[in-house]
């Protein structure tokens, strides 16, 4: 450290920034949590160094590399090269849970398809919100399957192939039978 700067500083004074100045700028910009201005850099540079020239030299050295010196509000900051972003991006899947209402509606559609909205509401004993239906549509688990030939021609709903895939079912026939789900005597008694 002590043998480096003196000779170079003198030489560089005429031709450009010293190696120490560039190293200092590199380290400062790297470690700062805020963009570094030429003025801020000037405070730690040796006497006689031009902060602007040092930053220009630093930017030149990083050209085309994995990391580049970007001019941002208030100064400069290192940024990873934009062309590398797709390689660096790591997508973490964080699937949502279906809300209970949506799960119930899905189950009713699965077991009673094709089924109209009023029928779903009658089965659940409560009204079905558009949100819930939209959520199931968005998830691709249900789809309209024509209309019922009845007054008002209400839409019929059914499950999609994606529903089968999501629940690892070969076909709808693989759904557990209703009779197996509902324990006999209590259901009959009610």
């Amino acid at each position: 450290m002590e043998d480096e700067p003196p000779p170079k500083a003198e030489v560089q004074a005429e031709t450009g920034p010293s190696e120490l100045a560039v190293r200092l700028a590199e380290a400062l910009v790297f470690a700062s949590s805020e963009p570094v201005s030429a003025r801020a850099l000037g405070q730690i540079l040796p006497e006689g160094e031009e902060a602007e020239a040092v930053l220009a030299e630093l930017a030149r050295r990083y050209e085309g590399r994995g990391v580049e010196l970007a001019a941002v509000a208030g100064g400069v900051q290192f940024r990873t090269a934009r062309d590398l972003a797709p390689n660096l991006r790591k997508v973490v899947q964080q699937p949502r849970r279906l809300p209970r209402v949506a799960m119930e509606t899905l189950a009713i559609i699965a077991y009673h398809q094709p089924v109209t909205r009023p029928e779903i509401e009658a089965l659940r004993g409560t009204s079905l919100s558009q949100e819930t239906l939209d959520l199931l549509l968005e998830a691709g688990l249900v789809a309209p399957q024509g209309r019922k030939e009845a007054p008002g021609r209400p839409t019929l709903w059914g499950t999609t192939p994606r529903f089968l895939a999501a629940f690892s079912l070969g076909s709808l026939a693989d759904l557990p039978r209703r009779e197996d789900l509902l324990a006999g005597p209590p259901a009959a008694g009610a």
Binding site: A27, L88, R89, V92, M103, A107, I108, L123, R124
Partner: protein, 254 residues
């Protein structure tokens, strides 16, 4: 003499020690010897001298200083016994334990110094000030599974059933009005005196319903008897109640 003066100095700094073991370690270091070869007896005497000195100037001492002093006094009494006796051996073992504890603490002091001498992040070197994150969280998927689907289905059905309000099955009641009609209708076709039971409707089979119908028929017969439509007779308490036609003119049937 030098011991007394050093004790005095230590006394002034007693507050600066991290407990009795810390002071003992400092005293051991003052012996300028390998920790394995320090004189535990000398150490004990120095510690006790410090504590005595503190008491002399009525310095408030925390309990652990005094507990250590008591234990060291006991240790000293054992170490002063002639070698070979069981008590002396006990003292030797306790002295070894103390030396081992001091060595362990000394090792950790050295480790702490070693760590402090490392190239430290944030002191000697600095990490990047603005780390970037390329992690994207994809929340578009849904987590579904068959048990949850089935549980939801059963839950929905159960709740829908619970929502239907309980209605008790309607009771078939033979009203007084019904009984009046039947009495009037049958009165002409029965012989002179007939038991009240004979006027009950044939279709009623349930015992509760039969008793209710009997009560209604009795009330109806009393009403008709009052109006002179028939006569009633009972031979004895709780005996059968007999119903008779009114022959021609009126007549109190009571």
């Amino acid at each position: 003499m030098s011991e007394a003066s050093s004790s005095g100095q230590l006394l002034l700094r007693l507050e600066g020690f991290e407990g009795p073991l810390d002071l003992l370690l400092e005293l051991a270091r003052a012996q300028k010897l390998d920790l394995a070869r320090i004189s535990i007896l000398a150490l004990v005497e120095q510690y006790l001298a410090v504590i005595e000195g503190a008491r002399a100037v009525r310095l408030e001492l925390a309990a652990d200083w005094l507990v250590m002093a008591a234990w060291l006094a006991w240790l000293k009494s054992r170490l002063l016994l002639p070698a070979g006796s069981p008590e002396a051996e006990e003292g030797e073992r306790a002295a070894d334990v103390l030396a081992a504890r001091l060595a362990a603490l000394e090792a950790m002091r050295a480790a702490s110094l070693w760590l402090g001498g490392r190239t430290m992040l944030g002191r000697d070197v600095f990490p990047r000030g603005v780390p970037e994150s390329f992690v994207e969280i994809d929340r578009s998927g849904f987590r579904v599974d068959m048990p949850a689907l089935l549980a939801a289905y059963l839950g929905a059905l159960r709740r829908a059933q619970a929502a239907v309000r309980y209605q008790p099955p309607p009771l078939t009641v033979w009203t007084v009005q019904d009984a009046l009609g039947r009495l009037e209708q049958l009165l002409g076709s029965v012989p002179d005196w007939a038991s009240l039971e004979q006027f009950l409707p044939e279709q009623l089979l349930a015992p509760d319903e039969r008793r209710a119908a009997l009560a209604s028929t009795l009330v109806a017969s009393l009403e008709m008897a009052r109006d002179g439509g028939l006569r009633l007779r009972q031979e004895r308490p709780f005996g059968p109640i007999l119903v008779g036609r009114v022959e021609g003119g009126a007549g109190g049937g009571r």
